[in-house]
Symmetry: C4
Subunit: 208 residues, 4 copies
């Protein structure tokens, strides 16, 4: 590596990874640890943990969601080879939404089944997913993308973010109809993602 420091793109990736990693790990400190009196007994402990089920659900959903955003960031930036300062703002904006996830998670978990907390969480998810789509499109386009990235790879990488966008939109609508079930709308993420990928493939086949 000699006397040359890291590539500017690498440093941007590195900083993003750190923010993803911290946000995903901070989720757990919003779960309040039960402290029961020593004579409480096993049933009281089981009951205390049962009360935390919404907090555990929130933790696992947000861990999966942030993990999925990280995986998408990883995939999109693996196609990039060039750096320009224009990447900074869309990347920072997307990270800002990620950094806000621990708050939205704790608020939703602590008030499970209420309209406003679920709407805030799912709305934030929709915003994050849209910022993610913008970023993925930018980094897989000129001047960032590497010459060796195939048109197909780029098209599929750009199709994937639609998975979270559509699932979050569905969850946001459900927040107003049946808030306590709205989070389960997120299990449709792989479904929408597969549909978007299939559509991108069909388009490419039509173009060829």
């Amino acid at each position: 590596m000699g006397t040359e420091p890291a590539h500017p793109l690498e440093r941007l990736i590195f900083f993003s990874d750190a923010v993803f990693a911290i946000a995903i790990t901070l989720l757990v400190i919003e779960i309040h640890v039960p402290h029961l009196p020593p004579e409480a007994g096993d049933l009281a402990h089981v009951a205390a943990l049962a009360n935390l089920i919404p907090a555990f659900i929130g933790f696992f959903i947000s861990f999966a969601v942030i993990g999925a955003f990280w995986a998408g960031h990883h995939r999109a930036f693996s196609l990039a080879r060039h750096y320009a300062p224009g990447l900074l703002l869309p990347n920072l904006t997307m990270l800002c939404a990620i950094a806000f996830m621990p708050f939205a998670t704790a608020y939703m978990s602590g008030n499970f089944g209420e309209t406003v907390p679920h709407a805030l969480y799912n709305g934030l998810l929709l915003v994050t997913a849209s910022l993610n789509l913008r970023l993925v499109r930018k980094v897989t386009g000129v001047p960032y993308v590497g010459a060796e990235a195939s048109v197909e790879e780029v098209a599929l990488t750009r199709a994937r973010p639609w998975g979270v966008i559509l699932a979050a939109a569905l969850a946001l609508i459900m927040s107003f109809l049946a808030p306590q079930w709205s989070q389960f709308a997120l299990v449709t993420i792989p479904l929408w993602m597969m549909m978007a990928i299939r559509r991108a493939k069909a388009r490419m086949a039509a173009a060829a």
Copy 2:
């Protein structure tokens, strides 16, 4: 390094390192800092610290355990040379269990000697160790492992995770019999690890 960003495997390792590092460092903020009135005196301070002994024990055990998982991750991934997206999910699942450790630690430390908190901690440890075994096997296999990794290195690296699995299983059983002593079962980690390594060596000798 020219215009080429980091290898995708390196970025996955990097992200994992950050999650390990944050989880291991967050352990300390679950220990409640005693604030005594100015006239409290030295004995009151010593008593306040003595009350925190379970919290200190929990901190050191979890630091050692997360450190051991990190060391195993480090060892296994040092044999890998190739990246494929199939690595993401087993790695994220394992990190999710690691990220949950500060909660389980604080719950166990704050309710030391109770069955449920110790069972939760040791059960989580057993789950984490099993997810770790799955990940280590995956990353030291095709298509991830490098051609220069010897059969022996791979076999020994795959044997090591059994140390925490067996010790955590023992600790989990003890959580129901003598919870206050169950954590001490974890001192048997090196013992089981050595046994697993010896068995792997014996197998290789038999195969040769």
Copy 3:
């Protein structure tokens, strides 16, 4: 990469990135999550969120400010190619001010409109921006800067930190006159930055 570890400059950059990333992500845990009784109703939730508006404003301002400092650090260090221990102290001092931002943000957000909290925040910002200017000048000078960095690049990189310095000075003055509006002075950051860049260009044109 063979048997050679990272360049010392890279490790310093890495450590700085981690501190920036942690400080920017910790901002959110200072926002207190509302926990309302189940029968509270949507209006009560909206009111609880409305009460947090200063906290949200503080989060976004500080996210933008720390992000801007990180971007400036990124830009300045991308011109550096050489390492010497003299870089450690100005870099650590600047990171110390960054690490203090979550406290100043929470104090300002929690006491929005009061003179002292706004003055502390904006004063800290002025100190951080001045330490940043010192660091940027150092790292874009001998012996750190790379031979391929042009005089123009260096001059523009050194002009940029004046944006936050001047805006923070204005915000600090406003903290004593109209504290509740003082944070809005920070929207002038791009304005001062553009003026400083224009002045640097004019100087270079005059010198040429």
Copy 4:
């Protein structure tokens, strides 16, 4: 970088950097943010900040101390070129002591002037500094050190850790005599360091 992931030494350095960065940034969240009623007035705010002076002192001392340990780690590992698993345990043990610093800092700051909190802090510092000396000696010795590291560089790098060891020992003694002044003993760190460096130089001159 081709298909080769990072050097194992680099990953160990990276993980250590992350722990240092998190510990140094977590210091601030142990400072309790004052929330005063809106009608409190400026004097009440100044008084609330004045009450936090011990917390601010603790933050700055610990930031400087962890920063100094990081700088020493940086310097020692910049001489290393080879990796062996024997490095893991002394490195993790040292990081464990670093990760414990936010607790000791908050306990000392929150009970400023009391013997036990100052003794705990300074005792932890002495332990950390001793673990650091062991690690620095190990990593600048066979088989870790690079062939190009000069005898003089190694000797000076090994002399430096004595600065914190001797200052922490002095501070620990003072904790029992005049606890409220004991932290100021740490300003002698550069003094002891210079003495240790001078002694190492004298020894080398005598040997030559």
